[in-house]
Subunit: 412 residues, 2 copies
Amino acid sequence: MTTDIFFQIVTPKEALARLFERLPAAARQERVGLGTALGRITAAPLISPEDSPAFARSAMDGYAVRAADTYGASEGLPAFLTVDGEVPMGAAAERPLQPGTAQLIHTGGMLPPQADAVVMVEYTQPVDETSVEVLRPAAPGQHVIQAGEDLAAGDQLLPAGHQLRAQDLGVLAALGITEIEAAVRPIVGVLSSGDEIVPAGAQPAPGQVRDVNATTLAALARQAGAEVREFGVAPDDRTELERLARAAQDACDLVVISAGSSVSTRDMTADVIGSLGLPGILAHGIAVKPGKPTIVAVADGKPVFGLPGNPVSAMVVFGLVVAPTIRRLLGAGPAYGPPRRRARLTRSLASQTGRIDFVPAALSQRDDEWLAIPVLGPSNLIATLVRASGLIRIPLDAGGLAEGVWVDVEPF
Amino acid sequence: MTTDIFFQIVTPKEALARLFERLPAAARQERVGLGTALGRITAAPLISPEDSPAFARSAMDGYAVRAADTYGASEGLPAFLTVDGEVPMGAAAERPLQPGTAQLIHTGGMLPPQADAVVMVEYTQPVDETSVEVLRPAAPGQHVIQAGEDLAAGDQLLPAGHQLRAQDLGVLAALGITEIEAAVRPIVGVLSSGDEIVPAGAQPAPGQVRDVNATTLAALARQAGAEVREFGVAPDDRTELERLARAAQDACDLVVISAGSSVSTRDMTADVIGSLGLPGILAHGIAVKPGKPTIVAVADGKPVFGLPGNPVSAMVVFGLVVAPTIRRLLGAGPAYGPPRRRARLTRSLASQTGRIDFVPAALSQRDDEWLAIPVLGPSNLIATLVRASGLIRIPLDAGGLAEGVWVDVEPF
């Protein structure tokens, strides 16, 4: 089913490389209206359908002129122009600009035919109701945004694989684009396993605890751009776990199984994941703490992940391997990765070389500085989840971090 | 209506201070199910209703023991214990732990009555089917998570004003909390003005352009936690602008008006905002570039903002004053502010002291470093909106930034 090489501990990067080369390249796409497109991923490049602006516009408040009429103008020897009315906002000028004349124009106004420059009002001096002195020469094109200078018809606005931001929607609206082709959100199936786990809605009997991970992982999957279907909790029964895992695989594009905390449940989960389809398990164990007992698999073209039952571990691993896979299924371009917050580490942290360590941290502001306060203690406490607001990453071969150094804290 | 002091340019911080002291303190609240609570703001502290765990649990795979039975144990002289069965996962032990015995237990298993410690399986050695040697002494409480050790009934889980994250929902689910009191989303009314502006769905006549800001500002308001009502585009007609502004004020909790690009439209917008109610305009002009022609007002208890028509300016000002006001209306706690990305500046930037400058920048990765590439040129081009992915902030009195320095780029 799998060869021995897959059972060595690998880095998250290597695990993703093995996974991505076995996934289909193209995302499915659907038409989406602008009103619901925020955060969606473009499935095709977006091209400007028209010139913007569609006409030459003034970039200043002042006078539309023929530049040639102002050549040689100075404070001592101004150019004298007849004021031939005002360009209305939102409409074309009433007549072309005659030689020796100027038309009053506002920022954003449409340049009259024959005008080729704008003189700022600060560099003019009214003579009377119908004439003005220009105190500086204007070069052709001065303070004018030419038609198509901002965006020309045929320009690429946004590439495929781009996550749409507020301003992207504004630009699309401005260009008359009201619908776009977006990548279809992949459906993520979330399944928990373990005899000791009961669903969040149930009353636990002695020895049982309510499921943390289904709720957390479902919310993280939605944040990453997926839709979610929940498949509940499978008991430590191979037949039932396999039945639910297959149901999730059939109905979804990606399956996440968080195993219970006991070794036997984890082993059973690995066994079931390995049996779901070819090529099967690609990595069993990643060089990350917490998060080592992670399974990365592809079964009949669909990614399947076995995450640790420890909720902190499950969150760390979700961010490292599941979220990037959702982005890959969406056809999303290379992400910038999570933005970080620079903070000063309040105590030294040890780390083992050869693995990436993540330490949950609380953030606290002192004067203009942020402090990263490691939340230590057993990593399986759920209190860690509410107390920490960031993760400190200790790189693969750093061997630790000293008190007082600056660290880049990832949001958690 | 307002005194002269309000017409001096102020910092965004000062403008917000004037605004916040005139806003109601408490947010309205509503009950929200966990399934739709992601990103919502807690309106009251959340308290743990029960101990977690509800029972003493094993933190390791091994044997539940009485610590006293292992005192003095060593590799040379192990403690000999009779194995009295296995604690099932998700259920209580079948019987209390008798002196001189051990029960096999898994991580997360419920400690049997009379047991007070767990010995890791690595420090034991099986003798036969029913007995085991313990090679190290166990201290009472070793590898045991006591009832209530993680969270005790009555512990505060999360404060009021907290934005709910994926893991918060997981923890609430684990404690059987399925509904919470959330701050009601404020309704933001969005209105544009200017004779040259037509709604996104319309075909512009010569001299007209489609509205960028309504779509952008609506999406930003939703991202900040508000609901949005759009009020279209008002022409440069005082009566009509005032009619639409009053309609927005009546129907919404906060009003954002983006003025057209001409000075006359901006003046009319200021006039209308000043007439909507008391105390009126609190700041007219903020020390920010781009974004100076900003109006901050309160009219009969509701914040009203006049934003510049330039879409880059409108976005910058939204982030500086409107988004914090939405958070304030939500009763949200002090935000961490946007996370930043450290990047190396590719060219020197000049800045005037006495104001905060924001320069849009594209981000590009080179080796392990991010580069911040300023997007220069006229700030009123909509191409800037799609080309930039960040904002470089030049502080109030920095006077500029040199090529090659590290800058913290805010997401844009």
